[in-house]
Symmetry: D2
Subunit: 152 residues, 4 copies
């Protein structure tokens, strides 16, 4: 059976509280044997990848720039797009479910694409602008919902 | 002096009220000698282009598919991307200001990119999710604000 | 009737001979009332656009970067992609016929896409790697062939 | 140490001889503990992935369409772009070295991008249009050269 691919989206800068939350999300995705896919940079992305690697998971970073070296140190598989935010769409389309944590306008664009493509999107301390965004009250709750809803 | 490029975004399907509003917006953009740039398809996009052509304006359609024939009949210059919604980003980045009318998740993604890139975005009966979206109460008000705010 | 869109592709750096050839091509496209579409930068692209503007034509630059100011001074309509060479595909797909002048690997990629998508491609002092590339012996010959072959 | 990512490019349709060659290439990449990255579809891509999976390797398919189900059955990690051939660029940019096998215009575009971005490209029964394409006389020779030249 294929491993589920779980997207983690959120800002490139975040508070330490949000970082802790993202790290826990990443760790739990790995424990459930999901592959973590994200934008490959800092902030929420890096924290989630750090968590995933602590739990021996696999991480994919879909990078906006043109160099593998832009990836945070916890990315196993860097995908280099050189397409700036067009890579946001690739993250969403490649995910079986997405967990949005905090984040600003880039994250809002990704949430929009989840809603447009019917990719389940679970929100943690993030944009609450549409009933299609599934609320979660903890990292564990978010990851549970993501795996439940991930396309089969 | 370069003509201003004004983006018009909104859904591929809309009510006749919204259609009338979009047509008026398109007509006013043309009267102000702006170039109208949009996604090139039906609904809000087609209505705005019809308005622009009635006022002898120029229209650009940045198409998601791989055929020029996907363009609505009021597009002068079809730009064929074959990149699905990645074309949303191109519309935003090419606009000096954007007018959002009605619309659903695709429109929300475009509004997000406007906010991310500091492209002025004026909202007419659309997503009201961030103070960065500039409200307007009529087509005329929206077009006035768009030209005022368009980058020089 | 729609104006034909003629792509001009070639390197961002070139000799003065090639520049003269490109300028003549641009001028002739404008005289035939075609719209010139190109990558919007320097070298062959800028020379062709200069020629088109001297003959009162219209020029579109599909830019790889994220700023309108990257466009050469002869671009009327800058399309901003921020997608690096993915914009090469957009130039090809939006053209009714393409004229390739000189150029290196980026130009070879564009010629490949012309051949892949059955967009007529006329070669002037450029890659001669496939019988699908239509030879031309002068700017005039190239432009004549481009308009003959442009999709109706 | 990071696993090398080796791109395999070639047509979606091919002869059984080419298929055998691609399968051997894929198998050898996996034996050397490289990750195989390709366009995810049929022909050369599928044969190479089948070879990689026989040798317990990991395979990534960067898909042009909008559905994971377009991937051939030997893809472990489908990356869904919905960007048609713009995905060719992503394959090249994400590869530490590329092996081109047979192929037509899409393959030529990918070879062009390898040459443009200085990604080492090894050719097996493919386009021989530039001295930058490194010749190989067998699957083994190609894979050896790919790993030697892969960026560190």
């Amino acid at each position: 059976m294929k491993q589920k691919m779980i997207g983690v989206i959120g800002g490139g800068q975040c508070s330490s509280d949000v970082e802790n939350l993202a790290e826990e999300v990443g760790s739990l995705i790995a424990q459930r044997e999901g592959i973590l896919i994200c934008g490959g940079l800092s902030g929420v992305m890096e924290a989630a990848c750090r968590g995933a690697k602590k739990s021996n998971g696999t991480t994919i970073g879909v990078l906006p720039g043109d160099r593998k070296s832009d990836a945070n140190p916890f990315i196993d598989i860097p995908i280099v797009t050189a397409m700036a935010d067009a890579r946001n769409i690739i993250i969403v389309r490649s995910s079986d479910a997405v967990i949005a944590i905090d984040g600003k306008y880039g994250t809002l664009s990704e949430i929009s694409f989840c809603l447009a493509y019917n990719v389940p999107v679970i929100g943690l301390k993030t944009w609450n602008v549409d009933p299609g965004i599934i609320g979660a009250n903890s990292a564990k709750d978010a990851v549970n919902k993501a795996f439940e809803l991930a396309a089969n």
